[in-house]
């Protein structure tokens, strides 16, 4: 079973040289820590920055320089600033190669729910609906089951949707799963996790085809 950093590490292997990538808040943010040195990627932050760098040192903190999670950050050589309309032109116009974000539920058709729980306070969708409606490739980073032990991989989402038929891949603490026209397809299992455990933790239709390899993290 993987911890949050393990999930981030596995997702980092999906990033190809030359990609422009938008990372959501939470586990997706950790992915930046595991991108191999020989892979050159440019991180997009939807509040208006391409070429996001690491957190600043104490003496570099700048109130005008934040990411979409409102954290202080830095720029890298070759970065650029722009307004929110241009930022979402990059996203909607499919110029961003990969979006990695968290989810509360994903359906076997690739629908995603991650912005609203009825009865609880609604904080808003931020940029999530624009991102999932337009990204060429979307990977979801999340826990396989919720705190009550119920599967988050469902035949249909119960929660209000953020987007439809958009997720291509899910990485959880248990497995790597692709979304195919026939439902979830098990691609890899986390170290020490059995196929039976993954089947039992997945409520939607799960295709298990032949031997399922264990993830290679290093």
């Amino acid at each position: 079973m993987l911890d949050k950093n393990g999930i981030a590490k596995r997702i980092a292997k999906e990033i190809k040289d030359g990609y422009y990538v938008n990372l959501g808040i939470g586990i997706p943010t950790l992915v930046a820590n595991y991108i191999p040195e020989h892979i050159n990627v440019i991180l997009q932050s939807e509040n208006g920055l391409l070429g996001m760098g690491p957190f600043p040192y104490e003496d570099e903190v700048d109130a005008d320089l934040i990411n979409a999670g409102k954290q202080t950050i830095t720029t890298l050589p070759g970065s650029s600033f722009f307004d929110s309309a241009m930022s979402f032109a990059m996203i909607r116009g499919e110029h961003v190669d990969l979006t990695i974000l968290g989810a509360m539920e994903v359906s076997e058709e690739g629908d995603i729910a991650n912005w609203k729980i009825p009865g609880k306070l609604i904080k808003g969708m931020g940029g999530a609906m624009d991102l999932v409606a337009s990204a060429k490739h979307i990977i979801v980073a999340m826990q396989h089951v919720n705190k009550s032990g119920e599967s988050k991989l469902l035949p249909k989402c119960d929660l209000p949707l953020t987007g439809v038929k958009c997720v291509k891949k899910i990485v959880t603490e248990l497995a790597v799963i692709d979304i195919t026209p026939d439902g979830f397809k098990l691609i890899e299992r986390a170290p020490g996790v059995s196929v039976e455990h993954i089947i039992a933790s997945t409520k939607g239709r799960l295709i298990v085809d032949g031997d399922i390899p264990e993830m290679q993290l290093d």
């Binding site: 939807e46 509040n47 109130a63 409102k70 202080t72 600033f81 307004d83 904080k123 969708m125 931020g126």
Partner: protein, 233 residues
Amino acid sequence: MINKTVKNAELAINGIQDGMTLMLGGFGLCGIPENCIDELVKAGIKGLTCISNNAGVDDFGLGLLLKNHQIKKMISSYVGENEEFERQLLSGELEVDLIPQGTLAERLRAGGAGIPAFFTPAGYGTEIQQGKEVREFNGKMYLLESWLKADYAIVKAWKGDALGNLIYRETARNFNPMMAMAGKITIAEVEELVPVGSLDPDQIHTPGIFIQRIFQGVNYEKRIEQKTVRKRV
């Protein structure tokens, strides 16, 4: 020569009345018009509809107007950092219209650019779709979204001149340029008001045509919402 300079925030917000619709620039607390917000609090103007990506925090930014019960309705994409907001929303004192962030940015741009509506894929198949025209283009589904306009837009820039030309700094640009275009009257507050001719025309982000009033703000706090640092090794 044209001179759009006003002396201070008090004079800049002159004419804003109860019940008006305002746009306020910023993302979180980054790039917000601090001086004008303080002045709106002092003036006690009520029943405002505020279009802004976020709603500030409890004791800063738009949170100050909320605390003072001056806002009737918020139009935003994300409002999660404010407990007073939560309280007023749950008690029914406050209305809120949540809009996907890219749709909000483009609706503002459209308002300033004279484009009454446009199609976007954001929100298709979700509850955002309710009541909206849906159309297919090249096999993909899109929602019709309309422009946003406001009685007053209030933006914050880094540098500006008496003609209203503006330059923003880093990610403090965010929603400010589109809002500057979409206000019937646009007020710009800047950290530094510089002589006309000293800004490089090639570097101007918002051309002065969109601005009606400009002033140099004072005492910028520029509060940081999430200070994150790394340690030197």
